[in-house]
């Protein structure tokens, strides 16, 4: 029996050496924690390292967004077209429903579960603070969404190269699309992450994200078309596009000549306005996420 009597004046406390093996490897700092957390988050967004059932949804959506790309490549190769029937940036735009659903479905995995079960407190017991935790989570989802859009782009590009299309044209168009996809992923991940961290029930988080990503975009598209074709107001048509992440994406792709048509071309002072609003939305979502993690993380 160990001696439980308090260590008083004549009894200095002793740490007994019980003979356990000591850790003498490299002690890594918070950088390593952040990297591991990021990689785990990215894997979890695709259901890797989780149960078999949680892999179904992300990979089903990914397969659905890859199928048209494979068909397009097949058509280009077989019929010998000299350009892709759809631009890289426009392909992402055409499959926006799948991208939005992926973000809406997987954001709760990264943002709701820790907060709902309060396991965030355990994370915060480690050196990484609430701010860093929120940023790393956001980065995981951003990269996950980006990968979701980049994989079909890579398939299209590989097909275009195999079919012998003009290399420099295709590379330019592809790189433009990839840059825009990074911006899009930041916006989509920020919005769906913020919604999932506020609404902790998975179902309501998903409906909230769908509202912000799909319903809002539908409203914006309708407004843009009505403003241009019925109301003859180009300024309103372009201005409404500032509201939703997808219309920001299409607007910037149009301004940058990346192969997407908008009801009214985005040019002049609208271009910096689109860039600034996109940056503000991304930054606002990040600030919101950090504030939310700080509030929930504090005991």
């Amino acid at each position: 029996m160990p001696d439980h009597s308090p260590s008083g004046a004549g009894r200095p406390g002793i740490i007994h050496d019980l003979g356990y093996r000591r850790f003498d490897g490299v002690r890594e700092g918070s950088g390593a924690i952040a990297r591991t957390l990021f990689a785990t988050g990215l894997r979890h967004a695709y259901g890797l390292g989780r149960s078999g059932k949680s892999k179904v949804m992300p990979f089903l959506l990914l397969a659905m967004s890859l199928l048209p790309a494979a068909i397009v490549v097949g058509v280009v190769v077989l019929t010998g077209l000299d350009e892709l029937p759809v631009s890289y940036a426009d392909y992402t735009n055409q499959t926006q429903l799948l991208v939005s659903l992926f973000a809406a479905a997987q954001a709760p995995v990264l943002f709701s579960r820790d907060l709902r079960h309060r396991s965030i407190v355990l994370y915060l017991a480690r050196p990484l603070g609430a701010t860093a935790l929120a940023l790393v989570r956001w980065l995981s989802l951003t990269v996950a969404v980006f990968v979701f859009t980049a994989v079909p782009t890579a398939v299209l590009f590989a097909g275009a190269m195999l079919a012998g299309l003009d290399k420099s044209d295709q590379a330019t168009s592809m790189l433009k699309a990839v840059t825009l996809q990074v911006l899009l992923a930041m916006l989509v991940a920020g919005l769906s992450g913020l919604i999932s961290s506020v609404s902790l029930r998975r179902g309501f988080a998903v409906v909230g994200s769908v509202m912000a990503l799909i319903v809002l975009t539908g409203v914006v598209t309708v407004m843009q078309n009505i403003a241009y074709f019925e109301g003859d107001s180009e300024a309103v048509s372009t201005g409404v596009g500032l509201v939703s992440p997808w219309s920001l994406y299409t607007g910037l792709a149009n301004a940058w000549d990346a192969g997407i048509e908008t009801p009214v071309p985005v040019d002049g002072a609208w271009v910096p306005a689109y860039v600034i609003v996109a940056a503000l939305i991304a930054a606002g979502c990040l600030l919101g996420l950090v504030a939310r993690f700080r509030k929930v993380g504090s005991l």
Partner: protein, 237 residues
């Protein structure tokens, strides 16, 4: 399926789950958004342009989303946190549980989905077309809410599964392949509404649309009850 299946207490609890807390505001946001948008476009442009919002946005998107939200509110949280076992440990007919919950989801879908579409239509000044859409939305809303309650009883991922049915099957594929209309609740509703106004499309046969809607509703509610009868609780995945 008759009035005897209705369990007042369970319906009351489902209603409380629906109206309680923040989800009520989410449920209320859709009709507010829809009527506000249509009123705004009517004021700024004209009624014809505003009415086009309804068949393009209100009927195919807002109505099913409201139905999903209502159906998952009455059953989803209980399945999600496992508290449904307390309900299921009571000697209550499981079909009665499913039926009562579906009735509440149906009422919510009609009040916050079908009615706002009608009101928004009246704002634009097209009375006949609005009535047609109301009929269509009532038919589709009935089948939608039953189907989504059934999905909620089967899987924890009910919201995403229901969304994929509405957005990808009825929306994306429905626009590409006309044959999807035969298996699309939205199109069945529109076909019934077509009887009121020719403005709505008539892709499928009327008897088929009516029978299919009825069949989906009855089978889905029965299936939800059957699932609850052999319900097994699984851990978070």
């Amino acid at each position: 399926m008759n009035a005897g299946m209705m369990n007042g207490t369970i319906a009351k609890l489902a209603l409380q789950a629906l109206l309680g807390r923040r989800r009520f505001y989410l449920l209320l946001a859709f009709p507010t958004l829809l009527v506000g948008l249509v009123a705004l476009v009517t004021a700024l442009v004209d009624g014809d342009a505003a009415f086009s919002v309804l068949p393009n946005l209100g009927y195919p998107l807002v109505l099913p989303l409201v139905a999903i939200l209502a159906a998952s509110s009455v059953l989803g949280p209980e399945v999600d946190d496992g508290s449904i076992v307390y309900l299921l440990s009571k000697p209550v007919n499981r079909y009665g549980v499913a039926f009562s919950k579906w009735l509440v989801a149906l009422a919510a879908t009609l009040v916050t989905g079908a009615l706002p579409i009608f009101v928004a239509g009246l704002v634009t000044g097209h009375t006949t077309r609005s009535t047609a859409l109301l009929v269509a939305a009532a038919v589709a809303g009935t089948a939608y809410s039953a189907l989504f309650v059934a999905i909620s009883a089967v899987t924890r991922h009910a919201v995403i599964a229901s969304l994929m049915f509405v957005l990808i099957w009825e929306g994306l594929l429905g626009n590409l392949f006309t044959g999807v209309a035969w298996l699309s609740i939205g199109q069945w509703g529109l076909r019934v509404g077509h009887e009121v106004s020719d403005y709505l499309p008539d892709v499928v046969d009327l008897p088929y649309a009516v029978v299919a809607s009825l069949l989906v509703t009855v089978v889905a509610v029965w299936f939800a009850g059957d699932r609850l009868r052999s319900f097994s609780l699984r851990g978070e995945d």
